[in-house]
């Protein structure tokens, strides 16, 4: 039985440079992670149920490339991405 009690909001993030598309994460957290055409993970954006957090932790621990991260979903004013100053976009 899935534990649907609420948990502190968290989110999964993939380090796309480290990720080699092994695909272990999608087996360990099937409801939260799907693989794209090439086998790289697409992760659920917001997790707020205890069962999801548990599955996400398992996926993070099971990644052989350590490319998956679970972080608290504070609402940061700036997450450090999407800031390609100059040249890149």
């Amino acid at each position: 039985m899935r534990d649907s009690r609420p948990a502190a909001p968290a989110r999964l993030r993939v380090d796309p440079v480290a990720c080699d598309g092994v695909g272990m994460c999608a087996h360990l957290a099937p409801g939260l992670i799907v693989l794209d055409t090439w086998g790289y993970p697409i992760v659920a954006s917001a997790l707020s149920r205890r069962a999801d957090i548990r599955a996400a932790r398992a996926a993070v621990a099971g990644c052989p490339r350590r490319a998956l991260l679970l972080e608290a979903d504070r609402q940061p004013s700036w997450n450090g991405t999407g800031d390609p100053d100059g040249g890149s976009d």
Binding site: G39, G80, D85
Partner: protein, 442 residues
């Protein structure tokens, strides 16, 4: 000759110049040779001080004033992302300062030359901004970051730095460093990677550089146009940034850098540059924001005004111009062929680090190339839509996002052409695209 310097702090409140243009002239570059010096004589320190006056100090309370001015002007980053500058500056201060400031002039965008034009003609304004940032943020080091082969720009900068040393200007020393000629060399995480001794390739950053960047110290990476705006703000308060952003218009193998007033429409801009008018057929469409930007239908944007420096978008303004790039597609051009050429360039420019970009951006480029050549089917268009979704936001840098944006907007703006191409009818022979595509060396 040592220029006479104005007393810095005392004049600060009294000195309120009328809006000062950054360039005040057009500078034209051959797209194929865009690192080469072009335009009028570079400004020396005497001209610079005549035009703008001495740089006020940005230490202590003056620094706090400057940050308040950044906030009041809502200045956004001119590198293309339009991130509010003040948010980065405050993040650096919150992390304790004493880090690094980087003025980023590695202009990777093939259709842009504004950063080169600025450094070649107003190097002192950029250096003033860099010095002000270093002072206001209590930085331990200042860097100006360039492409290796931007030799003319580097000469202008070195000359300006020599003049400043000779004049004994009180300011933190600047190191001029450069990276390989590559589209991604100016991407902010790639800049940090390179400055830390690694390859100039984007990195996945958990923590923003403004909090912990180079050597773990808070690091400000800001485009050189943003730095020049900072230099104007330090002198004159919010009204000093009233002129519109620098814009590069890429047409006919020429990159024209100009500084149109913000209330000018896109049509008015092309008219002033002689690209629109009696006897000239209007463009078929227009690419806004560069190679990771968006295609727009010409008639839907011709009467819209250009964006503003504060990142606010009045309802009558065009979609984002990114780093200020406008590239009209000639009336006889083929938008799908241009898109295929640009996507091919983006795919070749991939750092090849992130799977979805390695496979997806290449696949996008190949599929659009087949479409452009009249060798694609309906199913390929459906696949294209799926690919766009799978590529968007999936890399450590924004290259795949830009490729996705370009492809998505091409499919909607050129949907009539798309139908023709699917019936095997191409709009022209597919050769000789007009957008400049640099050679990518590995």
């Amino acid at each position: 000759m040592r220029p006479e310097l104005r007393p810095a702090t005392a004049d600060r409140q009294a000195y309120r110049p009328a809006p000062v243009p950054l360039l005040g002239c057009l500078v034209r570059y051959r797209a194929a040779d865009r690192r080469r010096l072009a335009g009028p004589r570079p400004e020396d320190l005497v001209d610079h001080l005549d035009r703008y006056g001495a740089r006020p100090s940005a230490r202590g309370w003056d620094g706090a004033d400057l940050i308040a001015a950044l906030d009041a002007a809502a200045l956004t980053g001119r590198g293309g992302a339009h991130f509010p500058a003040v948010a980065k500056w405050r993040a650096v201060l919150a992390a304790g300062g004493s880090g690094y400031v980087v003025a980023n002039a590695a202009e990777g965008e093939p259709a842009s030359a504004k950063d080169a034009a600025l450094l070649q003609h107003r190097p002192h304004l950029v250096l003033d901004g860099l010095a002000a940032a270093a002072e206001a943020l209590g930085a331990a080091g200042s860097v100006l970051w360039l492409h290796d082969n931007a030799r003319d720009t580097r000469m202008a900068v070195d000359r300006a730095l020599n003049e400043r040393r000779a004049a004994s200007l009180a300011e933190p020393p600047v190191r001029v460093l450069s990276g390989p000629e590559h589209y991604l060399t100016g991407e902010s995480s790639a800049v940090l990677n390179a400055l830390a001794g690694g390859p100039a390739l984007p990195a996945f950053r958990l923590v923003p550089a403004a909090r912990a960047g180079l050597a773990g110290r808070p690091t400000l990476v800001q485009n050189v146009e943003t730095m020049a705006r900072v230099a104007l703000l330090a002198r004159g308060g919010a009204e000093a940034v009233v002129p519109g952003p620098l814009v590069t218009v890429a047409a006919g193998g020429v990159l024209t850098v100009c500084e149109p007033p913000p209330n000018v429409t896109l049509g008015g801009l092309l008219w002033r540059l002689g690209l629109l008018g009696p006897g000239l057929r209007p463009p078929r469409a227009i690419l806004l924001g560069g190679y990771g930007g968006a295609w727009a239908d010409w008639l839907s944007v011709a009467d819209r005004t250009l964006g503003r420096l504060d990142g606010r978008r009045p309802s009558d303004s065009v979609p984002s111009l990114g780093a200020g790039v406008v590239a009209p597609l000639p009336s006889d051009g083929c938008g799908l062929a241009e898109t295929a050429a640009v996507l091919g360039y983006l795919a070749r420019s991939s750092a090849r680090q992130c799977g979805p970009c390695v496979f997806g951006t290449r696949d996008l480029a190949d599929t659009v190339a087949r479409l452009a050549a009249g060798r694609a089917r309906r199913a390929d268009v459906r696949r294209l839509h799926r690919l766009i979704g799978e590529v968007d936001g999936r890399g450590a840098c924004a290259l795949p996002d830009g490729a996705a944006r370009l492809a998505r907007t091409a499919l909607s703006v050129f949907h009539h052409d798309l139908d023709q191409h699917l019936r095997g009818r191409r709009c022209h022979d597919g050769t000789g695209t007009v957008l400049p595509i640099p050679v990518v060396t590995a």
